[in-house]
Symmetry: D2
Subunit: 407 residues, 4 copies
């Protein structure tokens, strides 16, 4: 019988190395590794040597820089909707999972693998996001989720397994990390351990990607962001690729202490959890995108977008990126962005990302209309009387009823 | 025939004094003035002498401090929904109008008046908010809206009328103010003139209620806010009445440069306008309320609230406070707040109002559940497999169809 | 060690009798039976003797007529929202489950039971509805779901077990029924077997509760239904209790071939299934309730209700009756019904339930307003011009932009 | 100075003939007539001679059969959403107005006209629909709405004007019609006069397009409708153009007494009105479309569609067909229909249009999955346990809180 062939989402770190070995020993599997450079800020090439050391065949090692795809096809479409989960969270982790799942499935097809495997735990959202992605793209794929399957009952047992199997263990990994991290070009998240008590302030050292507002410069930085059809395309007049642009915004955000969020959120699996998120560039981008929409997007269109946004955000948070209803909402959102083009001026200062000016050849803002002085042909103040009276009509009828009934 | 008796929303300022006189001359009306102290930061008693000077009978002068009613019955109910219009605006002007309209109608009943009158212009939202309020409470009331009716075609003609009628004109009013202001305990708004070009940064001098983040202290301020059933009740352990509490938050916000917003928004009457809003206390309160909800409000409840919020915000913005659908939404919102009680710790620093801790006897956050370690009886990681597989089922069936169809 | 004590939802039929015995043998459990008369149209008292025969102690047998509670506290609240799932289904099965779950939990507390048990299969929605109900009311209750647990792999093995355990088997149960039924005072549902191919018409014999429209009388029946605060209270002027009223409507519906639905629906567990539903009284009630709302409910209120209805329906369908968001929506819905009182006249004829007249002391319909003739003081046709022009304003601005951009 | 040139929506009937003459006399206008054959069931060619008689130049007379455009670009897109207003109304009048408005504007451009004119009254929705259409397409167009402008205070004065101007008056028009009618290929509506009391049954004679269910044949008619991407394309296997197909469905509906609706609805202008609608083909089509969606549309997609439908319906009802948010919703809806193809079998019988079978190569219904018997590889009943437990988790935590708090 042919060996089971498994495509593993492999970071090169200790945990996924243990999984790699566990697949080889427990399943007698031929492991194919997929390591994505999502802009997490760590080299990905070392993963190659680690995989080789663990016996993965060179042709079974896939290492890819997917930053441009990530930003262009996942991050930017999401930002077109001004997406935040539970009013605040910019979905930095959620939006990366579908991309990884998609590439794993594509590689599985390419190499003829039977199964895919990820390193997410059994309590979190990421397992759902990975696996909904897998199933949506390849319905009969076999999914292996080690954290839900294996018998290791403690971190110690994992380390023992690693030692027994000659998996190199960084010194600081022997004792446990005081919190866990996920990172990509959009954000870093920290959770667990020292963050588990939501009444206790997050320690400064959990932050990976931003300096504290208090440590940020005393002078504001001003920038201009250009948008085309809802997506940012240039900073200070310099056209940049999606990933390069987000990288630049990240630097600007980091240096000005922008994008920190300490949040207790509701996981899809039913529990509340506390995370510390840093989304420096994304936080600037959200404010800027709202700024350019404020002058280029029709009011009715904006209100419709705002009303469906929470649902769109939940779909992404819950892992339904490839679900038909997410795609339907995307069609609606993208339709709205056709004229969301122009320039936003922003001030960055100690945690604040503030829109201070917006300009566009597609502007719907009409100074003539809004001015206190008379003189605009397109607005007759007397129209407001009729507008109000007809809007009031049903309220008046109801008030008349209330009077009649009270008698 | 009896004289027309009109209840005027009277600030004591130049514009409403002109209206007062105009009602007397144009309509030969007996004017009843209502001056509300909404916490706008100006003395209201001077309005009495001004009204008297303009010939209003003492028994026709109503001056009231409505700050507690304003905060308790209007501001706090609105904040229970984390209400923002178009993603950002805290609705400081919108929420005050229904209260004024309601008192005008009550006074009209008390004094037997036939009509009510306000000083809002014919291009803005406030005329709608006033008048929808009037009509919803007293369906057959006569509404006089001078700005839509009179023949004055310029500011100059207004001033001429004032002079001719011995209405005192403050020196600085002769030339026009560079922008117009509305203020109450929740916020100050500035708009018009120097703010009319949305590509140009708002000058520092338009700000009334906050110092600039750059001028705020270099050291953060930490405070604790106590909530009961969704409303704040104490700061740093000191119980405060609604208005006193908001006043205190305003001071804290002002001193830390918190709550400025420069926004281009969509008016109900169909045009875009640009406003600069300062909501120092409200900005802190919004963040704090989200903080206490994050541990005390069920996820499903929160998502429902978030999904109806934009509609609730539009209703308030558009002046439908007394509409049945606003009251229905309020019933939904209030129902959700029954256990939103506890304490939020916040850091205020140069424009940032950040939740750094939350605690509650009603917390739904369960450290045992969320911990990476095993040991919680209520969560079995294996359950996640079934959860995912059933959530994936429809996606898999669709993917199978896609394959079949592609063949 | 004390015996496990289990409260079983017991119909007295073969399947739940097998479960009863299985609990006794497999779990060595002391079984407490709960048999509810929900108006399913079968005697419930025989369940007592059957339970006794199977060794259940008399004090452990609970048989209750819950029809009034069912209609008053579950059916009517749901109908206040004009609730239909996926545009059509009146949720007859879904709405009964929470009541049964609630009573099981209450009995479990009363008798000191450790567990609850139901007879729903592992593929359907009912298991979810029962168990979400149990957990929402008693979070640490033990739930036993035999169909997901036991080893019987076929109907035959079940029958064998029944025979071996002296469970009486009705003759016609030996061979399998050609479809499965659920019934209560609101509806009967049929699914499975002969209905599994959705391209094939449902045979006439699956219908339990209605005659075919073709067999219904050739003369229409006219009735009047009185409503108070959203609930029906009388038929043809005769006040009736909730259950008696629904019973009467069921008779009227049955006799006129009203309330059949053949539907392919989406189950919460992810698959599509086909059911044939008969909701004779409910179908009349839905039309009548819409009728009384049409004259007594404000337009804004109605549109809000309509927009949240699909979510409310899904919550009930999915088993979230006791979830906070269902209760929030109920608060909103109930708030809207305060003046939904009056009388609706209906014609029942061969499958059609048609509103032919509505009348109410709380009517918002104003003949004066709507007439083509002039003469109503409250509507000035000229107001419409301003109303339209301001509603058009943003469209005009967008059209002006389109022209400018096209140049 | 050049004469005012006006494009009038001209039916050829008495009212629009009066308007034509009034435009010539009151405005001294050069009138251009546009007469559309929307399938209203009256000849349109006679309008040519009438216009000529009233002095309209031949080159200013536009008569067009727009039935195919109407059904293909307006009716079918709307039906993709299963659109009903206030739960019941199929929007037959609303959906025709944008098409007429669009053609008027196009003709105005072609002939160089300055203004457009319609014959809708000042109390209804149609004036809004026409004028929002005009303004959205040609922002600076001049709009003439005679019913809101002229001085005629009664029907009698209108008739006098007609007589004085040699406008031919059909005998039965001298006395007033007992109700007013609008018709097109989708529906006929009747309102006013004899229908103004909503407590009184609509007389049989108001119905234009359907026989009564009681007069319909005693034997059912069965038909098959084929759909492609959400639109019907064939009846009983015969491919038909959009208008031909709807015409055929209308005949089938008429003959079987299908599609009558007696409704009190909420107009956009704020009042309630009562209408009798007949939408024979549309009623069949709605049921059939739901039927084909039930097996081909994913559950999540369907629920999203259902949740936005009321908003989409209101937009159409209120006249916002050309608004950006309608177009955004259309993008969402159209996206969902990509695989809504297949065949629906229906039974038509005395007012009932019942789906009795559906079949599709794109079906998502899986008999294997849903069967009571084991044997489907893709569903493991044990998965349901985990699915339920994680869905219950937040409910359990809330219940634990309730217990703790109660102590």
């Amino acid at each position: 019988m042919a060996k089971l062939k498994v495509v593993l989402a492999y970071s090169g770190g200790l945990d996924t190395s243990i999984i790699l070995k566990w697949l080889q020993t427990e399943y007698d599997a031929e492991v194919v590794t997929f390591t994505a450079d999502l802009g997490q800020g760590e080299e990905v090439e070392p993963a190659r040597r680690k995989a080789e050391l663990l016996g993965v065949k060179p042709e079974n090692i896939f290492i890819e820089d997917v930053q441009e795809v990530f930003v262009r096809d996942f991050v930017f479409p999401m930002f077109r909707a001004n997406t935040v989960y539970e009013g605040q969270y910019l979905l930095g982790t959620s939006i990366a999972r579908p991309l990884i799942a998609k590439r794993q499935i594509e590689i599985a097809r390419q190499v003829g693998a039977d199964a895919v495997c990820h390193g997410a735990t059994g309590k979190g959202n990421d397992q759902v996001r990975f696996e909904l992605g897998y199933y949506a793209l390849e319905p009969d794929i076999r999914v292996i989720a080690p954290w839900r399957e294996w018998e290791f009952a403690s971190r110690e047992q994992l380390i023992d397994f690693a030692e027994k199997n000659q998996i190199p263990i960084a010194k600081d990994k022997r004792g446990e990390s005081p919190f866990s991290i996920d990172a990509n070009l959009l954000h870093s998240s920290s959770e667990g351990k020292v963050l588990e008590d939501p009444s206790v302030e997050a320690p400064e050292y959990v932050h990976q990607r931003t300096i504290s507002p208090e440590d940020a410069p005393d002078t504001p930085t001003e920038i201009t962001i250009d948008f085309e059809r809802g997506d940012p395309v240039a900073i200070d007049g310099v056209a940049l690729s999606p990933a390069a642009l987000l990288t630049k915004l990240n630097e600007l955000g980091r240096d000005n202490g922008i994008g920190r969020l300490d949040l207790v959120e509701n996981r899809f699996v039913g529990m509340k959890s506390r995370g510390v998120y840093e989304t420096p560039g994304g936080t600037i981008l959200l404010a800027a995108h709202r700024g350019i929409e404020s002058i280029t997007l029709d009011g009715g269109a904006m209100h419709l977008k705002d009303s469906i946004m929470p649902r769109y955000a939940s779909l992404i948070y819950n892992g339904f990126w490839f679900a038909p209803e997410r795609e339907m909402l995307q069609a609606l959102i993208d339709k709205s962005q056709e004229m969301v083009s122009g320039q936003v001026r922003m001030k960055l200062y100690k945690g604040n990302a503030t829109v201070i000016g917006r300009d566009s050849a597609y502007s719907l803002y009409d100074e003539d209309l809004v001015t206190f002085e008379e003189g605009s042909g397109s607005y007759d103040q007397r129209d407001a009387a009729g507008f109000i009276r007809l809007n009031a009509l049903r309220l008046r009828i109801a008030a008349q009823r209330a009077k009649k009934v009270a008698r």
